[in-house]
């Protein structure tokens, strides 16, 4: 028998991808004292004012000098380039006192004029800086410099948590934006090879010093390899090529736990949530009877009651997740409301609720009052193993109610197109990344007028009374200076969401990290960037 040539070709084609992948798993050369880890894709911009994606945010965090820094460990705002700062009684005037002798990485002096110019730049509509929205009314903000070391920012109205906003504004040389090449932060961008790496070098003029008076940062630089594949990441990490891996998938966490148990850390539930929601958009092309299910509170509650969240956490996340019932995680100790009453797993109650709402079983299939079989698709993004597993688990859970679910995994751009533009989908399973524990940062999700109000985006006026109530409560907490009033308003929103289930919360994934035993100065936090939030204090044993 001769060897079938065509089959040999198939085998070669099938082997080509993994072989190419293995060959590609070579990190760039590591310089002495340099820290190294990965980012998933090329940063969309190096301009710190225009940052709108996670990887650009990472580069900004590592390079930007900021007036105030939000400490991810203590969750407090601390002075950075500013020596001190005050907020007036009415919350509308913020005054910064700059440190003396500040310099940019090129040796030029850094004064209040540079700080004012940088703040004004992000407020300009032409800059299209996402951070400008956090000033609520950026057009009405004025910035003055009474002297070389004082900056005064006047707001048209109080902005709760204004200090954290300045953590996102990089101070650049006035009139000379440099896309991270001239900074006042710990590092500057020194080299970028598309799809390969971003290399940062130490800013020798960085203002911070440690307790012994030593200049920070300790490391000579940072290399961020652009690499999405966790297989390669882990292979290079275990060879010592990377110092850390943030957001480790649970199965790889378990793998590393076996091979290098000293390197992995499970910090428990993070701030992020995974949730399912039904499309309630008025403009969606779904048939009216299908929309009526999704707008029906009893239907949403029944679906929520049928989902076995414990199984999602145990099977899809291998136990590295916590069942979720609210948009605020228990990790967010200040804002989490442990007293909310939310639908928990109860299939009998779900069936009874559906029956009361006019649904009935026809054989094994659930049908609505008009006899339409209840079937819908759950959309999620391809390539996310946990979400795909959760969707398949939910498919079986809802089968117990007689609901036929189709799981569809689309690539992210196709999913966003359906979700945000055509609104041609029935249900969607995605996660929400919360970088800020303050619920004020979630205004863009909860306000009914927001385009990120995913179950019914950009409502001209609230479609339901409970959405109007959420709008009112979120606006109340956004302008109140009283922490008790704010907490009460946020608790109220948590209870409304638990009652109405516009988002059916599934799990809070745990924060899973891998940190090299050679990396010194690590104080992991649940807030991003979880390991490198104190990058200036990190160093490898070799570089010490």
């Amino acid at each position: 028998m001769r060897f079938p040539g065509r089959f040999a070709c198939w085998i070669l084609i099938a082997l080509a991808a993994p072989v190419a992948r293995i060959c590609a798993a070579q990190a760039a050369t590591r310089l002495p004292g340099e820290l190294a880890w990965t980012i998933g894709y090329d940063p969309k911009t190096f301009d710190p004012a225009k940052v709108d994606d996670q990887e650009s945010e990472m580069v900004r965090y590592l390079t930007a000098g900021v007036l105030l820094r939000f400490n991810r460990h203590t969750q407090e705002v601390t002075p950075s380039l500013a020596e001190s700062w005050t907020v007036s009684q009415d919350g509308r005037t913020v005054t910064f006192r700059m440190r003396q002798g500040l310099k940019f990485s090129d040796g030029s002096p850094l004064t209040s004029k540079d700080a004012a110019w940088s703040v004004r730049r992000v407020l300009l509509p032409d800059t299209k800086a996402p951070v400008a929205e956090e000033f609520v009314s950026p057009a009405g903000v004025t910035v003055d410099t009474p002297d070389a070391s004082t900056v005064v920012v006047r707001l048209p109205k109080r902005v709760v948590g204004i200090g954290k906003v300045f953590d996102e504004i990089a101070i650049e040389p006035a009139g000379r934006p440099s896309e991270g090449r001239v900074t006042a932060g710990p590092f500057v961008v020194s080299d970028y090879k598309r799809s390969q790496y971003v290399r940062l070098k130490r800013n020798s003029y960085f203002a911070a010093r440690d307790g012994s008076g030593n200049q920070l940062p300790y490391s000579t630089g940072v290399r961020l390899d652009i690499l999405e594949n966790p297989e390669q990441q882990i292979r290079i990490f275990t060879r010592g090529g990377y110092d850390l891996i943030e957001s480790l998938p649970p199965d790889y966490f378990e793998l590393l736990k076996k091979t290098a148990p000293n390197t992995v850390r499970d910090l428990g539930a993070g701030l992020n949530t995974e949730q399912l929601w039904f499309n309630q958009a008025a403009a969606s092309p779904l048939p009216a009877w299908e929309k009526s299910w999704f707008e029906n509170r009893a239907f949403r509650v029944a679906v929520s009651q049928a989902i076995r969240r414990d199984d999602l956490a145990r099977v899809a996340y291998l136990g590295h997740a916590t069942p979720a019932y609210s948009f605020i995680s228990p990790a967010n100790t200040v804002w989490y409301d442990s007293k909310i009453i939310a639908p928990h797993t109860d299939v009998a109650a779900a069936k009874a609720g559906l029956k009361r709402a006019g649904f009935r079983l026809k054989g094994t299939q659930l049908v609505d009052a008009a006899g339409h079989p209840v079937k819908f698709s759950i959309l999620t993004n391809a390539g996310n193993a946990q979400r795909n597993k959760m969707a398949t688990l939910i498919q079986q859970d809802l089968g117990a109610l007689g609901i036929e679910v189709t799981v569809v995994a689309l690539d992210f751009p196709a999913l966003i197109e359906r979700m945000m533009h055509t609104q041609d989908y029935e249900a969607c399973l995605l996660g929400l990344e919360n970088v800020d524990p303050d619920p004020n940062a979630m205004m863009n999700i909860w306000l009914s007028s927001s385009e990120n109000h995913q179950w019914n985006p950009s409502e001209k006026k609230p479609a339901t009374t409970w959405e109007a109530e959420i709008d009112r409560a979120m606006n109340d907490q956004a302008v109140s200076a009283n922490p008790v009033v704010r907490k009460r308003a946020v608790d109220h929103v948590q209870q409304i969401v638990a009652d109405e289930q516009p988002f059916i919360y599934l799990v809070y994934p745990n924060v899973l990290l891998a940190v090299s035993t050679k990396l010194q100065g690590v104080k992991p936090a649940v807030l991003e960037p979880q390991v490198v939030w104190n990058v200036e204090e990190l160093r490898t044993e070799v570089g010490r």
């Binding site: 793998l255 390539g383 189709t406 799981v407």
Partner: protein
């Protein structure tokens, strides 16, 4: 031909075994045993379970049946289409033949994998898993006929100038009578094309499944199961994750052995 008999027997035995496994009472390719994800071999799960606790043996058997049935149906469709186009191109005159082969060449030049991906992703989201399987194989058949048609065309041209054909025409046989005689004479051309197409469609469906565009869950597919091999964490949990790929390679070798000419 001597080799083909035992090979066919093994293939048929595999299919019968798969039928027995899938139809055995109490088994389901979709049922999740959530207390036993990624379990090894046991009395209840001979080939262990997958990441969602589903019986791997049942899923592999179901994937084998689905893939074989779909690929055979798609190959039959492709061969029928190729026979029609190839014969028409050969017998309908030079201009038509040239145009038909031009269409074939255009089809062959298309990036078929991207086309398949486009078609699959354009399907309504609530297409049921069963329908998604049917559509996947139909699309494979719709895109797979041109190479086959080219081969049939060349063979049909040879038939057109064969002695028996000239005698038939000279003898005054009508067109329909000629076609009736043509079909049995084309069988030696069509059978190999059919046999070659079956493994090609098996592998194409596995490719689509690996891209997440094949048969929808919870229906099992080779591609979906091969995706498990992309995860070294899973490979260390149980060696049974290699079972689907081992069986796929074995089935492809058997199909290839059947298709290969003596």
């Amino acid at each position: 031909m001597r080799l083909k008999v035992p090979v066919l027997a093994v293939l048929i035995a595999l299919v019968l075994a798969a039928c027995a496994i899938v139809l055995a009472p109490g088994t389901s390719y979709a049922l999740q045993d959530r207390d036993l994800p990624l379990a090894g071999s046991s009395v209840h799960h001979l080939a262990g379970t997958d990441a969602l606790g589903r019986d791997r043996l049942t899923r592999v058997a179901a994937a084998l049946l689905l893939s074989m049935a779909g690929s055979i149906a798609a190959a039959a469709l492709t061969t029928a289409a190729a026979a029609g186009v190839g014969a028409m191109a050969a017998f309908a005159g030079e201009g038509v033949g040239w145009a038909a082969m031009l269409v074939c060449d255009v089809f062959l030049a298309l990036p078929w994998l991207f086309l398949l991906m486009m078609v699959r992703s354009a399907l309504p989201l609530n297409t049921s898993p069963g329908n998604s399987a049917e559509i996947t194989f139909f699309v494979l058949a719709a895109l797979g006929w041109p190479a086959c048609a080219r081969a049939v065309y060349r063979g049909a041209l040879r038939l057109k100038s064969a002695d028996w054909m000239l005698q038939a025409r000279a003898g005054g046989l009508k067109r329909m009578q000629v076609i009736r005689h043509l079909l049995p004479n084309m069988l030696p051309l069509l059978v190999p094309q059919f046999l070659i197409s079956v493994p090609a469609f098996v592998i194409a469906e596995a490719n689509l499944g690996a891209l997440g565009l094949g048969v929808g869950p919870p229906l099992p597919s080779w591609g979906g199961m091969l995706l498990e091999l992309d995860n070294s964490a899973m490979l260390l949990q149980t060696r049974w994750v290699y079972f689907p790929v081992a069986l796929l390679v074995a089935v492809l070798l058997l199909l290839e052995a059947v298709a290969v000419e003596d």
